[in-house]
């Protein structure tokens, strides 16, 4: 005697044994199976036959597992590496700033005085925000390289775009928080929100750029390439906002790595703006 619930439970066991482990796809496939069964039964097929037919239409476990597994590995390696590097960099930055503060201020003062803590939080969040913007920019550079080498598949483009979007949003949020904390700190220290420091102006410029980057992503009709090039331009903006004020005060001499970094980004921007070459295959 055919028992539908038992048969479905057995089918689920087979799917799980084949490697379809996550419950959400399996629940959805079961829902589909039941829908199809109902439709087949409406044409007066016997229940057992209707079940067999619905299962065969749904597909065999092997190819289904392969397709669902592809979703897990969709992020291309620069994006995956970016996530891990960023997480590592954040831990390192937070730890090194904490150690620096500990050494310069002392643990007792760090624990009781609000100003150094506020400043510490400001430096960490602004550094994390700027770093996120650089990671988005690096993904933009990967995009340009893939495109230049004719190895930019739609899946890679989507993965890079998704990761760049995440880093851009993260950069905007953290920079916003960092600037907010700086305003509060300045107010506490100097009685006004702005102290007339060039770094204040530079960080606000960087924030405006990052907000524009996020807004354009949401509302404007821009291509994926334009979005990625804007991320590279973000490298230029953020590095100038971060190191530009120091450079203006201390002179160019000690900042030659910044000049090289800016030059490289300009080169990638030019390559990215240029129309794609035909692959030489003759």
């Amino acid at each position: 005697m055919f028992n539908l619930e038992q048969s479905i439970a057995e089918w689920r066991r087979q799917m799980l044994a084949a490697g379809l482990k996550t419950p959400t796809p399996l629940n959805e496939l079961e829902s589909h199976l039941r829908e199809d069964m109902r439709a087949i039964l409406a044409t007066t097929e016997p229940e057992a036959l209707a079940f067999q037919l619905a299962v065969s239409r749904l597909g065999t476990p092997g190819p289904l597992r392969t397709e669902f597994n592809k979703l897990q590995n969709q992020a291309c390696w620069p994006a995956r590496m970016g996530y891990w590097l960023y997480a590592g960099a954040m831990i390192l930055i937070a730890a090194s700033i904490a150690v620096a503060k500990y050494l310069s201020v002392g643990p007792g003062k760090m624990g009781f005085l609000p100003h150094p803590l506020l400043l510490y939080a400001h430096v960490v969040s602004l550094t994390a925000g700027y770093c996120a913007a650089f990671f988005a920019g690096c993904l933009g550079i990967c995009f340009v390289c893939y495109r230049f080498l004719h190895t930019l598949s739609p899946a890679r483009e989507q993965s890079l775009d998704r990761a760049a979007r995440l880093f851009a949003y993260l950069a905007t949020a953290l920079t916003f928080v960092g600037i907010g904390l700086a305003l509060i700190w300045t107010k506490q220290q100097y009685g006004g929100y702005f102290a007339g420091d060039l770094r204040e102006f530079a960080s606000i410029c960087a924030l405006i750029w990052l907000v524009a980057l996020c807004v354009i992503r949401r509302i404007s009709r821009v291509t994926g390439r334009a979005r990625m090039l804007m991320c590279i331009a973000g490298n230029v903006m953020v590095s100038l906002a971060w190191f530009g004020p120091f450079m203006l005060v201390h002179g160019m001499a000690g900042y030659w790595p910044l000049a090289i970094f800016l030059g490289l980004n300009f080169i990638f921007l030019v390559i990215g703006v240029a129309p794609a070459r035909e692959r030489a295959n003759t």
Binding site: S31, E67, Q74
Partner: protein, 115 residues
Amino acid sequence: MYDASMIEKELVAASTEPLILSLLTNGESYGYELIQEVKRLSGDKIQWTDGMLYPVLHRMEDAGWIKSRWVEVESGRKRKYYSIKKDGHQALKEKREQWSLISSVLGGLWKGQHV
């Protein structure tokens, strides 16, 4: 036996995302209904392997083009409904331009040709 009127699987695969996005612009829907709708609109010439639709839907959801929610329909049965998002409309716009271009190029080439 090979049926010449059936659409080739590569073409079916390439058209899956624009088809789903286009169907979802009419309102939210679920996997089974999407399959039936495509069958009906194509006169059974576009045949998706039923289960293979779901990885595509999940990929599109990951890309931020569509979103989903479980809905209880009757006697505890649940369906996962999908609806299009803002980014999905944008993606559809781009895909529409690409397909229109291919269609117009082929149309131009085949104009006056007799096969």
